[in-house]
Every structure is written in C-alpha cells, then in structure tokens.
Symmetry: C2
DNA sequence: TGAAAAGGTGCCAAAAACTGGCACCATATA
DNA sequence: TATATGGTGCCAGTTTTTGGCACCTTTTCA
C-alpha cells in the first residue's frame, strides 16, 4: 500500500461516511491515528477542503463541494477543451464560464511550461466571434480534424502554408499564404492569412481547404489582423 | 528530492532532449542508471508512452503525443466543462469535439460514482440546439449563475420550482412549475417546464426568471418533452 | 466544574521503501 | 567480434515513512 493509494482510500472513506472520527478512519483505512492525521494534512495541502470539529460530537468531514478529481489529459485534449470554453464564452451564453475557466487554469498549470507557451500562442491566434445571421449556411461542410496538425505547426513556427482551395463558386486554386489567425464563427472556421501575391488579407473557410502543408524553412512577420468590432469582412473567396 | 519530483524532472528532461540514453538521463537527473530505469518503468505504468531502442545508436524517447497532465477539478468545474463541450458539439463547429469528449470521459471516470450519476441526469435534462436566425436578441439579458443551485436541486430531486417571471411584454407573474428540461440556444438558456395550472409545457427564458426556489417535499413524474426536429416552439411567455 | 471525547503536534525508534552498485542478459550496429 | 545501448535480479546501505507515546486545545455533557 503506497502513500498515494492510502490517501485515495481515505478520501473515498470520507466521501462515503459524511462525518467520521480519526479513529474510525484509521480502522477503515488500516493505518494508525497518527498517519491518518498526517494524511489529512497532506490532502489539505493538495487543496482538499476538509472540515474538522474538535470536542465531543466533533469529527472529520470532507466538504462535498470540494470533491475533486484527477485525470491525465493529453495536450491535444487540453487544447480542445480550451477552444470549447473560449468559443462558449464568446457567445456569452454560459453562466458557468468562470467555473470552466478555473478548471482549465488548473489543467494548464499542470502542463509543462513549453506546452503552455505553445497553447497560449495558438489561442492568441484564435478569434471567436458570433455568426452574423445573414450568413448563408446552406453548403456548410465539416472541417476535417486531420488538417489540424499542419495548422498547428504553421502557427507555432510562423511557416508558410500551401493548400488547394475551393471558393464559393466552386473553383479550385492553389494558395501559398502567411497564416495570421484562426477565426471561429460557429459553426464555421476560417483561416485568416496574408496573401503575399495579392498583397492583402484573405479569409479562407476551413472546410474548403484541402491538403494543407507547411513549407519548412520559410518564415514571415506576424501582422496586425484588423479584427476589431465590425471589421470582419467575410471576404470569402 | 522525492520520487514524484525526480520523475517529474525525468519527464521534463525527456521532453527537452528528444532522444537520450539512460546514462545521460541519469547524469541530468542526478540519480543512478538503475533508478532511472526503474522510474521509466513506473512512468510507463502510469500511462506515459516511452519508446526505447536497444543497441548502438539507440536510446530513450518520450512519445510527444503522449505528453499528459493531471489536475484536480471540482465537480462544478467538471460540469461547466461538460456543458461547454456539449454546446460546442451541438453547433457542429468543433473539429476537436472527439478530443474534448475523450478528455472529459477521462475526467468523469475519476469522479465518484454518485456524482457521475448526478451529472448524467443533469446532462440528460440539457438540450442544446442552434438558435434560429429570426430570434430577436435585442433585449437579451444575462443569466445569473447564482440561480443555478436551485435548478440543480430541482432537477436532481424532481422538485417543483417557484419563481417570478417577467414575460416578453414586461409583465410579472408568479409561477410554480415542474422542471422537465433545460434548453440552450446560444446565447439564450430556457427552462422547459410543465405548468400544472395551465396543463401545458412552457418555455421560460432563464434571464427573465427571478428568485427561483425549490418546494421541498413535492415531487412529480418526468414527462416526455417534445423536442425533436422542428418542435421547439419558443412559446416565450 | 470536572470528565470524556474529539482534533492536533512533537519526538523517536522501528519498519518499510527506496537507492545504487554489481553481475549479467538481449539487441543492434560498426 | 567489439561496442553501445536497453533491461532485470539481487542485495546491502540509506532514506523515508510509520506507529506509538506524551501532551495540548476545544467542546459537550453530566
């Protein structure tokens, strides 16, 4: 029985029983009174809220609202959660957004620092807005998650991105652009990029992008994307 | 240097260096070759994917996709995340939704079983749809997160809910209803409830509900809410 | 008011876990 | 074949953890 394991059973005992005394817990867990007290201290250090009342009729109680859980998440999973919450917050529809943020902050804190930096940089490239009701959704496709790695690499390393694009009229062109931002107007995703040949910003609907690939060894300056307020041109090619 | 701490630094070393040999790692971490090998075994047991190649030119490598993180989350935080992801999935805008789901599933698995049951029951009461573009959002208020505990209790215990409601014309009425479902049409939240005096379903916009309170000791049957397809009447009182 | 029941702390020896070294094995490459 | 690498079993020495003890504080009840 390792320390970790014993503390887990202790928490489970506390959850089950509501209120109990140290001696009861010691018996249940199979450890001495002293060890239980030490474990309770350790759990408090870890952030568990454990109430204790001295005196006759007192006891130990785990604050039910503080019941916590641990899970191992991969970085892509964390990123997916971050985006969900960011998008949800943008629609201002979530009374829970503070809670969700708090949860994500904890998860982020547990990530290795270089990954956090990457996630932050990606999130900074991500703008979430509200879809204007006029937008025509009749031919909405689905974005293929398999395309994401290329985007991630392009954004994190400032690499040019080459892909084939099908425009609103159904015509295909090949593009090589400087990715500047990702724009989410649920349920559509856009790539906002500087097109060096046309010398202007362009918005590409992600569900119309095919076979994107990074061009390694190239690099470009990050530009200021004109996003504020009404400047969301939807100049869908 | 505790075991936990040393394993953390080991993981960090692996992340930094890409590929390295056991002896290098031992030197970096400040432990013996034997201990490093033991730690690698322990990390593998914990779910880290660590590749190793014997022979000249071989070495140890941490699978970058398996970089994981742990965090302790409270139940309300988990619930908030669940709702974010559910809402996001409903808009079909999230190429990550599978990833986010996988992450949440892991988190859920770590929750105490009774809490999972509660969460599932609450989520079953939660319907997320897409806002019809015609909806008038001009007077949109914000839902107060402070109202949520009453809703949670009402749904989990099948309790009648009493509140004062301001309808679209600005008139106030007092209601006592049987909560059946929550409906999210971002950015608006609705309470779908059976009104026993009017003998019909009603949709209440949550931002127009005031001072909700559960009526303890009362209970009622759960009804089938007519939700499918176009039956989303918006009969905003 | 005093006794009993409860949580909490400091200390120390005994017990348990961990560590490092060693010998040795398996595999791949020059 | 020699060398460089990962991997395992074993054991003595070291470090950490544990349990017991004495003692303190707070609360309740007789």
């Amino acid at each position: 029985m390792t320390v970790q394991r014993r503390q887990d059973t202790l928490i489970r005992s506390l959850r089950r029983s509501g209120t109990s005394t140290v001696d009861t817990l010691a018996q249940e867990v199979g450890a001495s009174r002293r060890t239980i007290l030490r474990d309770i201290g350790a759990l408090r250090d870890q952030g568990f809220v454990i109430h204790s009342e001295p005196g006759r009729g007192g006891g130990i109680q785990l604050d039910p609202s503080s019941i916590q859980t641990t899970a191992r998440l991969s970085v892509p999973e964390v990123f997916a959660l971050l985006i969900s919450v960011a998008a949800m917050r943008a629609t201002r529809s979530l009374p829970f957004s503070n809670l969700a943020d708090a949860g994500l902050a904890k998860i982020e804190k547990a990530l290795p620092t270089d990954k956090v930096r990457d996630l932050r940089r990606l999130l900074n490239c991500l703008h979430v807005g509200q879809l204007s009701p006029q937008q025509d959704l009749s031919d909405m496709g689905t974005m293929d998650a398999a395309l994401l790695p290329a985007f991630e690499a392009a954004f994190l390393q400032n690499l040019h991105l080459r892909f084939s694009y099908r425009d609103a009229k159904g015509q295909h062109t090949n593009r090589t652009v400087e990715p500047q931002a990702m724009l989410i107007l649920p349920p559509l995703w856009y790539l906002v990029a500087w097109d060096p040949t046309r010398h202007d910003f362009r918005h590409f609907r992600m569900d119309r992008i095919n076979a994107p690939e990074c061009i390694t060894g190239t690099s470009f300056p990050r530009r200021h994307v004109p996003f504020e307020d009404d400047v969301c041109p939807y100049n869908d090619l």
